[in-house]
Every structure is written in C-alpha cells, then in structure tokens.
C-alpha cells in the first residue's frame, strides 16, 4: 500500500511539471532570450535610458528576440561575479566589460563572441577613433566600445573668487599660488584620496601630471626608470603636504573625497562626466560654480585624460540565430541616435559618433574640453592591471606620510608590474 501511494505521489508531482515544461518550451521555442546582467540599473544615471532602449528593442523584436536585464547594482560585486563566472567557463549572454589590461585577458580562448567581421563596414565606422583598437587583441575585436571616460579637472570658481584667484591656473606655479590663496581663505585646495580600489582622484591627478610632464606617449616610457614618473610623484606628494588637501585624504575613499567637493569645501577636483548629475542634484550651488579645465601645463600643456571605460561583450555561441540576435542588439545599442539618447539623458559620453546637443552646461564643457585638448592620454588605471593600480594607492599613502620618497613610490609600484 505504501509503495503504491509513493508511486502515485511521484506521478502526481512529475506529470504536471512535464506538461508545463513541454508547454512553455513550445510557446517560446522561436524566441531567443538574451540575459544581460547590468550595473546600469537602480540609481545609475544610465538606468532609465538603457532600460528604455532595451524595451524598445524587445517591442521591435517581439516573439523573436528578448533581452532581459538582470540587476546587479554593485559595480565591484559585478566584476567579482564576472571574474568567477568566466573562470568557471560560464559567460553571460551579454555583459558590461570594464576595459583594462586585466579584463582584456577574457579575450583569450573562445569564450567571448568575436565581432571582428561584423565591424568591418558601416557599423565599425560609427565608433570614435581608437576605441575599437582598445577592444582588439591579436586582431580580434571581442567587445563593442560603449562609454568613454574623460576625467578633466573641476574647479569651484566660487572658492577661487573668495580666495582672490581670478583665473584657472595654467602652469604649476599658478597652481601652487592658487593653493596658497585657497588655504588662506579657509578652503581645501585639492581633493585627494589614497583609499578605494584605485585611489581614484589622486590617480587621475597623477595621470594628468604624467601627461603634462611626459607628453602624448608618456605611457610608452619605462615606468621603473623614466624620471617623468618620479617628477609627477613629487608634485602629487606636494598636493598632500602643507594643507593642500583635506586631513582625511590618506585612507579616504571616493565618498569622502567627492563629499568635500559636493560640500563646497574644495577648490579643485577630478572625475568623469557621470558625476555631473550627482553634483547637479545634490549640490546645485557647486554645480553652478563648476568650470571644467585641463590640468596645469608643465612640459606639455592642454593634455586631457580619457579612455574607453566600458564595452559590451557577449558569450560566444555556435548557434547562428543566437549570434545574429546578439549582433542585432549590439547594433541597436550603438546607433548614433540611441547613443545620443543615452548621452543626453545620463550625461555620459559614449564611444559612438553622434550629433549630441547637450543642454547641460558642464557636459557641454566636457565635450569642449575634449575637443580642445592638445592630446588625450589614458589614465593610470586604464593603462595598468588592477593589482598595479591597487598598489598605487598603497604606495601613495606611504609617500604622503613621509615614509617613502617619490623614487621609492615609483619603485613600489614597479615591483608589482
């Protein structure tokens, strides 16, 4: 009797699931579902325009292709998860690739979809110069350039005026004079930080200083031996001394550093265009006072830092229909019109040629700063693997506390290269 009951129970449980499984398979057999884990969700400024584009794509391809966004709002967590998944050979259908020497290792083998042939033609011509090269390894382009990062210097002109500084410094002498005047007026001259995963604002300052000292080919120089990098370290170290930055700069993370600028306490700051919306919403007075500029010139002037921040990549597949669906979606996301929509809504600068007419004053200044730049170099974080970038913050903290010379700072970073 017990055996009979058990068999009946198993059949009762199994039959409906088989029926439903069969049913759903038939109904959706024609539709290709592409899952896209994304951190452009929630409070991210790109969340709304990206979601809108995905919805429009899904409507236009109803019954044949469906892109489903999976929300992963934590960017560091996203990267960790992606690393672990790819190491296990599991690649998401579509994902955001933060482009740097570490993530470019994903291009090894055949885990990622190769877009090299698809990009030969009109689609490939639609991207900003150099961006396809940034996602090409051994002549294979396995990601689609998406967002650019330009990281100029932001100046709070209200503070400069209060300190009696009538123009944005163009040389280092003018810069140090500005620092002295800003300090005397009771403000913080520069925003610095050694914490976080990459000592972000200080790393950007260092990149600017390296560019101003070493020119457009600065990153082609040997980091361990070229004097340019020590000279840049000396200048960065000075920004940490004599009250040229906040008391909490050593060990500070992005929240602390950005907080000083948002609070209207600091005169000079550095960050990308994605920060515009935050300043506008959280500190309107600071937004009104902000002017975007290049860093002071030294051996070279007018340099700007910029790089391909993120790209869209996809899992490789042997299914031609699935492959075509992915390419179709990638093309949709990178049309000039759609890039314009995202850029104008989110304040981001995309890697796609588009006729963007920004209504945002600071975003317009960003575009102008990039257009006016005598040359653009990558930031330190874009040029080196993540462990080298992590060492930057650690070495900087040591130097800023007087426990290492600029030469030792460079040597410590070079030791992990």
């Amino acid at each position: 009797m017990k055996k009979l009951l058990t068999v009946c129970l198993i059949i009762a449980l199994a039959v409906p699931s088989l029926v439903f499984a069969q049913g759903s398979g038939e109904a959706k057999s024609q539709e290709i579902v592409l899952k896209w884990p994304s951190f452009w969700v929630g409070a991210d400024t790109k969340a709304a325009p990206i979601t809108e584009l995905v919805n429009q794509f899904n409507e236009a391809h109803a019954g044949s292709i469906k892109v489903e966004i999976e929300e992963n709002p934590d960017t560091d967590g996203y990267r960790d998860k992606l690393n672990a998944q790819i190491a296990a050979g599991i690649v998401p259908d579509i994902f955001i690739l933060n482009v740097d020497p570490t993530t470019l290792q994903f291009f090894e083998g055949d885990l990622l979809m190769d877009f090299t042939e698809d990009l030969k033609g009109d689609w490939g011509n639609g991207f900003l110069d150099g961006t396809l090269n940034a996602v090409t390894v051994d002549k294979e382009t396995k990601a689609i350039p998406y967002e650019m990062a330009y990281t100029p210097i932001w100046y709070n002109t209200d503070i400069l005026k209060a300190a009696g500084v009538d123009k944005i410094p163009e040389t280092m002498d003018e810069f140090w004079t500005m620092c002295d005047k800003v300090k005397a007026a009771g403000y913080i001259p520069t925003v610095q930080m050694t914490g976080g995963t990459n000592a972000w604002t200080s790393m950007i300052w260092y990149s600017h200083l390296c560019a101003a000292l070493g020119g457009p080919d600065v990153w082609q120089k040997d980091f361990a031996t070229d004097p340019v990098f020590v000279q840049a370290a000396e200048l960065l170290n000075r920004m940490y001394q004599d009250g040229n930055t906040s008391k909490d700069a050593i060990g500070a993370g992005p929240g602390d550093a950005g907080g000083h600028y948002l609070a209207g306490e600091a005169a000079a700051f550095s960050n990308g265009p994605w920060y515009i919306a935050r300043v506008k919403n959280e500190a309107p007075a600071v937004y009104d006072a902000t002017e975007i500029s290049t860093a002071p010139g030294i051996n070279y002037s007018g340099a700007q830092t910029g790089y391909l921040l993120s790209a869209l990549a996809a899992a490789n597949t042997t299914d031609p229909a699935r492959r075509a669906a992915v390419v179709e979606f990638m093309k949709w996301m990178t049309t000039g019109e759609n890039a314009k929509k995202v850029s104008e809504a989110a304040g981001s600068i995309l890697a796609v040629k588009a006729d963007i007419t920004s209504t945002d004053r600071i975003q317009t200044q960003f575009f102008q700063a990039v257009a006016d730049a005598s040359f653009v170099v990558e930031t330190f974080s874009a040029k080196f693997p993540v462990d080298v970038v992590a060492e930057f913050g650690q070495a900087l903290a040591k130097m800023a506390q007087g426990k290492a010379t600029p030469e030792q700072f460079v040597a410590q970073i070079a030791s992990v290269m």
């Binding site: 990267r79 690393n83 914490g195 060990g251 602390d256 913050g393 903290a397 040591k398 426990k403």
Partner: protein, 291 residues
C-alpha cells in the same frame, strides 16, 4: 561490535558526506592543486612548482599580512574572549537590568558588518569624526589624528572596534556559567570565599571547556579575518592593515588564481597549525588545572 543498522546509518550519512565532498573537499583539493600553477582562470594552467609560494614569502606585503593575521588571531583569542568572560561572569551574578545588558552586548551580532564598519569609519574620520571631536573637547587635541589613515594607528583602530563585539561569545560563556549549580557558590560563601575566589575556583574550572572552544573559534576567525578591514581600509594605508584574506581577494580580482590559491593554501595550513597548537596547549593546561 558492529551496529546491525549500519546500512541505514550509511544511507543517512551519505547525502551529507556527498555534499561535504562536493562543496568542501573538492574545492580544497582544487585550491591546493592550482596553488602550484600560473593560471588566469581563462587559459590553460601552467605548472610552476613552488614558485608562487617562494614569491609570496619574498613579498613584503605578504609578510605584513601574515603578521597581521596572527595579531588579529591573538587579539581576538586573548583580549576579546577574556573581555567576554568577565562580562559573562558579571551578568551571571544577575545585577539589576542584566537581561538588558545581555541584549545590548549581543545586538551588534545581528547588525550588518557593513553598517558597523561604516559607523566606525565615521567615528575614526580625521575630518570631524566623533573620536577626534571628543579628544578635542577634553583638551587632548594633540592626540587627534587620521586614525585609519595613519600607518601607526590604522591596524589598532580596526582591531579595537572588533574587540568591542563580545556579545556572541559572552552569551555562549554565560550559558555555560548559568549551568553551574548555585549550591557550589552557596557552599563557598559559607566557607568564607569572596566573589573573586568563587569565580576563580568555581566558575573558571567549570567553564574551561567552553572557554577553550571560544578561544579556538575566535582565533580561527582572526586567521580568516576579512570584512571590517576590507570595508574600513581595504588593507591600507601602505598595506599596514592588510591581511591574507585581502591579498587573496585582490589576487583573484587581478585574475592571478595561482597566487591567490597559494595564499589560500598557506592560510589553511598555517591556520590549522595555529589552531591545533593552541588547542593542544590549552587542553594540556586545563588537564593540569583539573588535576
């Protein structure tokens, strides 16, 4: 004598054993194997013998991290547990409001580590943090500093905040102490023993096994410590607060799986040796005490 139900016993044990093998033994084996390779998680593994280990022991950050792991381990085992013990012994005497105190001390254990770390980061902040404000208010401005940014104070600052969270072990020790019959204390009181003597000669010998377990668990936590350091300093400044867990995480993030797993393997071996040694020493001591 062979249990006549051995087949059923095996059957019941099998799922747990299988899960243990799949989710613990196999990954552990994999960690040890890959620690002898150069591997980025994508391409093929390249066997390089002990190179990851020799490189690690020559690396200053690794040596700092290892030292910090031991400091964490001993701080938790021999400062946090004695504090938890003292508090448990006090509460076991049931002073007025003892249940409230018990809850208050246990409360941090149900609060997210992230929230606690953020709170302490704010307390230690050099620019308007509560600690510096308090020091300034009582005329000790010369002591104010960037607690988490100063290489001399950062490690101490991160450890000290963790030492306050005695609630978990306090509750465990308190439960053990409450299990001791009150008649022992009454008899001792009649014989003229004061509170101190009662605690030393009655409470401590009776709760000794649980103390040894608590010390072991706290030290094991110290060896695998990661969260609050990661959240408060990320191992900085200048690696002053780095621990092996942070190094491991950073190497995995840099797709250096061979190095990361060599750190993991070292942590497992050293942690095991440390914990077994401490247990052996404490058990020996306790056997001596028990006569």
């Amino acid at each position: 004598m062979r249990n006549k139900n051995w087949k059923q016993i095996c059957l019941f044990l099998l799922p747990a054993l299988l899960l243990y093998a799949v989710f613990f033994i196999y990954p552990l084996f994999y960690v040890f194997i890959t620690s002898f390779t150069q591997w980025n998680g994508i391409g093929s593994m390249k066997f390089i013998g002990f190179k990851n280990f020799t490189d690690l022991f020559a690396n200053e950050t690794f040596r700092i991290s290892l030292k910090n792991n031991f400091i964490w381990s001993f701080a938790l085992g021999f400062i946090q547990i004695p504090l938890a013990t003292i508090m448990a012994l006090v509460l076991a005497r049931k002073p007025k409001g003892w249940k409230v105190y018990r809850t208050v001390f246990f409360l941090p254990n149900v609060i997210s580590q992230v929230a606690l770390a953020m709170m302490w980061t704010a307390i230690y902040n050099a620019d308007g943090g509560i600690l510096n404000s308090l020091l300034s208010a009582v005329g000790l401005e010369s002591l104010t500093r960037n607690w988490l940014g100063d290489m001399g104070t950062a490690l101490g600052a991160v450890i000290v905040q963790q030492l306050f969270y005695i609630g978990y072990f306090m509750v465990v020790i308190l439960a053990s102490r409450m299990g001791i019959s009150e008649s022992y204390y009454e008899a001792a009181e009649i014989d003229g023993a004061n509170v101190w003597q009662q605690e030393i000669h009655i409470s401590l010998p009776n709760i000794l096994p649980i103390l040894i377990t608590s010390v072991t668990l706290a030290m094991a936590y110290g060896m695998r410590h990661f969260e609050s350091t990661f959240l408060m300093t990320n191992g900085g400044p200048a690696h002053a607060t780095s621990v092996l867990g942070i190094m491991l995480y950073q190497n995995l993030g840099a797709l250096k799986y061979g190095v990361g797993n060599a750190i993991g393997a070292t942590l497992i071996v050293l942690g095991g040796v440390l914990i077994m040694t401490i247990r052996w020493l404490l058990n020996k001591k306790s056997q001596k005490m028990m006569g």
